[in-house]
Structures are given as C-alpha cells and as structure tokens.
C-alpha cells in the first residue's frame, strides 16, 4: 500500500462556504458575508479565524481540506486512494463532462478524501466528505474509497473517524451507486466485528443514502450544531404528506432529541472531543 503525499492545495473557499450572501464589494471594505441566522455581516477573514463559525454560533460549511487542517495534527495526514475516480457505468448523458468541470473547479477528483492521520497524537484512519464535489453524493468512487479505508483500518487495527456531508446516492451512476450503500456497510460491519472503533461526525447536510448507510453506523455519532440530518428530503416529505414540518425538523438537535445522535459538539470543541473519545477507546482495547 503506497502512501501518497498529501498535496495541499490552499483554496479560499470561504466565498462558497455556506448559504450566506457575499456583500457587494465597496471601496475600502473587506469582503464579507451575511450570516443566515443572525443576519449580521461578518468579514471573510474574521470568519476564517473562527473556522467558518459566525459569532452567533452559526456553522458555515467547511471544505474537506480545511477540515483536515482543523482536526488532524499538523502535517500528519497522509492521503490514500487518490487515483480512484468515478467511471461512467451507465453512460449517463453529460456526466463525464460534469465530472471534468467539477474536478477542474474543485481541485479534487472525488467527493471524499481518505487517509491516515493523528488526532491529538492518536493514530487513526480519517475520511472527510466534500460538499463542493457534487454535494458529496456517493457514487462508485466514494463507495470504493470508504470501503478501502475501512478495510485498511481493519487490517491495521485502527479506529476510523469519518466526517459526512452528502445529498445522498449519485443518481448519475444508477443502481451501482445504490450498491455502494451495501458495500460500505459491509466494510463497516467487518471493522466493527474486529472490535474496532468508528466515530462519525455528521455535518451539514447529511442525507439520503449516506444517512441510510455508513453515517448512521458509528459506535458513537456526533453532529455539528444546526446540521440537517435525515433520510428523505424536506420538500419531498412536504409534497408527499401535505403536512407542514415541525420546527427544527431534521436538525441535529431534533435528531438528538429523537435518540439518533450521541452528542452535538461545536466546531471549536471538536478536536478535543474526538481526541478524548479516541483515548478512551484506546485505553479500553
């Protein structure tokens, strides 16, 4: 198994970091965006210093490289399986050109990055899904990479820490994308049966086929505040049932209340919480 060197591509993704609108640039004014929760303007540099969290606590999205930088010990991340790319298994019209455009724009070749790292000096396997790559949708490449990181972790007796963000299965890959739900779940099960620890961190949004597979299979499941977590889409539920949805529906707080999430952790506390949980499991093994 060759380790490929983590190619760090610093990108200023902040302008795309959430639903906040970028304010028009005025003279002598720093670029900023408006928080969808408190409606205040916050400069991009201030936001960056706070890991994309507004002063009111609203968690903007964060790309996978920023996430690695925030969570993993400095320069400890060794990326793996970088040559795995999606094929076009059902020759879906326009899919190849869409993939090419997104690869060029995002500098990533798929919607998940995997590797080994240290978190608080705890050795582990890590996967981080990428919302800027087709909304983190799971096709054959994502399924294969997730499966391989679990197989690698099982073989090397390592825990897995996974960050999920996904719109669900990637319909452009048809039934083969559906099969990735079973494939990844099988890999998680084998890792689990080997007595190894798996922590999932649900970030905004985690939905569809990813929720219905490896996102919900962690020994411990934590979520960022205010993240949407669910199986069916809100609009689909409203249209199907004709009912208006309860307040806070499918938010991580709602999911915790209903018993599906162990804890909600602010981004600023994430690294410390993950480190602690890894230490507890290491001491017990």
């Amino acid at each position: 198994m060759a380790f490929l060197k983590f190619k760090h591509a610093p990108k200023n993704e902040l302008e795309k970091g959430g639903r906040g609108e970028i304010a028009p640039a005025e003279i002598n004014e720093q670029p900023s965006k408006t928080c969808p929760k408190c409606h205040k303007k916050i400069t991009l540099s201030a936001l960056w210093a706070r890991h994309n969290v507004c002063t009111c606590g609203y968690h903007f999205r964060m790309n996978s490289r920023e996430r690695i930088e925030l969570i993993c010990d400095k320069e400890s991340f060794r990326e793996m399986f970088t040559d795995i790319e999606s094929q076009d298994p059902i020759e879906f019209p326009g899919y190849i050109s869409k993939l090419e455009a997104i690869r060029a724009e995002s500098n990533e070749n798929e919607a998940v990055i995997c590797g080994t790292a240290q978190i608080g000096r705890q050795e582990c396997c890590v996967f981080v899904m990428e919302s800027y790559f087709m909304m983190g949708s799971m096709g054959t490449a994502v399924g294969e990479k997730i499966t391989r990181i679990f197989e690698y972790a099982t073989e090397n007796k390592l825990p897995v820490v996974g960050f999920t963000v996904s719109g669900g299965a990637r319909m452009q890959e048809g039934i083969l994308s559906l099969m990735q739900m079973a494939k990844t779940s099988g890999a998680v099960k084998r890792h689990s049966d080997a007595g190894l620890f798996y922590l999932t961190v649900l970030t905004n949004p985690t939905t569809g086929g990813v929720t219905a597979s490896f996102a919900m299979e962690g020994d411990i499941i934590i979520a960022e505040p205010g993240a949407t977590v669910g199986f069916a889409g809100k609009r689909v539920i409203e249209q199907t049932t004709g009912r208006s949805l309860p307040k806070g529906f499918q938010k991580s707080e709602f999911m915790r209340q209903h018993g599906f999430i162990d804890a909600i952790v602010d981004r600023s506390d994430l690294k410390a919480v993950i480190t602690n949980v890894l230490k507890i499991h290491k001491a017990g093994s």
Partner: protein, 261 residues
C-alpha cells in the same frame, strides 16, 4: 418493450403481491408481527413456514390489491418499524438455522415526519450492516418495484433475482427527470437512462437471474419459483464461508478496473 412500460408494469396493482407469493409457495405459514420496539408495520409481512420439508423465514413487502388494502399497507412503503421487524425475524432465523427468503416490492421507504423521527435512515443502515453477516442463506426476489434504499434494505442477499418485468433503481424515473431536467414528464427518458430493468441489472452483474413471467400467478408459476428457491437454498447450505462470499458479492460492485494499490 421500453423501460418506462416496464416501470408501469412493475407498479401495476394487478400483479401478484408479497402475500400472494407467501400463500402459494409456502406451507403452514404463520405470520409474526411487530418490531418489539414501537409497532407493527403492515407494509411488511413476515413469518415462518415450510418450503417443502425445509423450515424457512419469509419477509415480504406487501402493497395490497384493493384501494382499501393499499392504504392499510402504505402502498408498500415500509416505516422504520417494518425494517426493524424484518431484522428481528432474520436474526431469529439465524438463531434457528433457517434460511431467509425476501420478496421485495416498494417504490421506496416511507417518506414522512414520523418515519424520520423514528430513524428511517438508521433502520435501513442497520439492516444493510446486519444482513451482510447474517449466518444463514438469504435469497431476495424483486417482484415489482425495487425502489432505492427501501428495497436494498431487504436485498443484501446471497442471491438476488428479479422478475422479468420488475425494476431496480436508485431513484424513480419521475424523481430523476424532475431533478435533472426539471420536468417529471420526461420520466420515460429517465427510465431508459437509469438502466433499471431486470435485463439491465443482469447485464450490470448486480443480480444472478431473471425469472420469466409467462404464466405469472398460475399454479405452475409458483411451483417453478418454489423449486428454484428449494434447489438454490440446498446449494447455499453447503457453501463454506457464506458471509465472506456475500461480502465479496457486494464488494465487487463499482470496483472493476481499479487496481488495489
């Protein structure tokens, strides 16, 4: 026959449903209700009986025929408690060394507020995980619609067969067309594109066999399925490392042409 015609055939209320297969294939069937946690989901019928001389566990998604029956069965869209009932019965089958036979027919897992509150995603995920290592033979037959995660949650099996006019898809053709082309009316085009027919699934290698429907619903038809199940289960019972092979079956999907480093 074009793909969308097959979708419509697969959805037809005149097709035999899960309960019809149970009634006509198994002897001494007894239905077992409830997930022991919340409720009994009428969209899934589960129980025990004989396949010839062989005790088996059967799990079937049931759509119902009449309008009233279909309402009662949520049109074959299971809630989390349905998947949990199915898993309870499959675990029970494992304990008593009974093979499991699933009949799958759903447009998808139930879509609603309650289903989300009770963890639809978690329920499906748990079935996918647990079925993968269920230490007893499992055969799933798609008898109508194989709608996304809601169908997969009963299809992590050693053998997956599809009826000639059944479909298996990650998304409905209408859903695909409305997301992609903002036009649900182009569902016929989407159906072709998605490669969702039984014949496509066989060509893609995700199922083992297509069952002809020539005399669907007749005595001879059910006899044919009974014999096919019986002889295949006998083979599976002799397999060494059944769950390892089941994992390998799913492991292969979408990893062709990529060399492991």
């Amino acid at each position: 026959m074009d793909a969308y015609t097959k979708v419509k055939l697969a959805r037809s209320s005149s097709r035999p449903t899960g309960a019809d297969y149970i009634k006509n294939i198994f002897r001494n069937f007894m239905e077992l209700h409830g997930d022991r946690r919340f409720a009994d989901d009428a969209a899934i019928v589960g129980g025990i009986g004989f396949l010839h001389d062989m005790p088996v566990t059967v799990v079937a998604i049931e759509k119902g025929h009449s309008a009233k029956e279909r309402m009662k069965r949520s049109f074959g869209a299971p809630n989390p408690e349905g998947y949990r009932k199915a898993l309870r019965l499959m675990k029970q089958a494992e304990k008593f060394r009974r093979p499991v036979i699933c009949f799958v027919d759903t447009s998808g897992a139930f879509c609603g507020v309650g289903a989300e509150e009770r963890g639809q995603g978690q329920a499906i995920a748990e079935n996918l995980m647990e079925m993968m290592t269920l230490d007893t033979p499992v055969i799933s037959i798609l008898i109508g619609e194989g709608g996304s995660g809601g169908a997969l949650a009963l299809s992590v099996a050693d053998r997956v067969w599809m009826l000639e006019n059944s479909v298996y898809s990650v998304i409905s053709p209408e859903g695909c067309a409305s997301i992609l082309w903002k036009d649900a009316k182009r569902a016929d085009e989407a159906a072709e594109t998605l490669k969702l027919t039984a014949q496509d699934s066989l060509a893609n290698g995700i199922i083992e066999d297509v069952i002809p429907e020539d005399d669907i619903g007749s005595k001879g038809y059910y006899r044919m399925i009974r014999e096919k199940l019986y002889s295949e289960i006998k083979i599976l019972k002799e397999e060494k490392d059944l769950t390892g092979k089941r994992y390998a079956r799913f492991r292969a999907f979408g990893s062709s042409g990529e060399e492991a480093k």
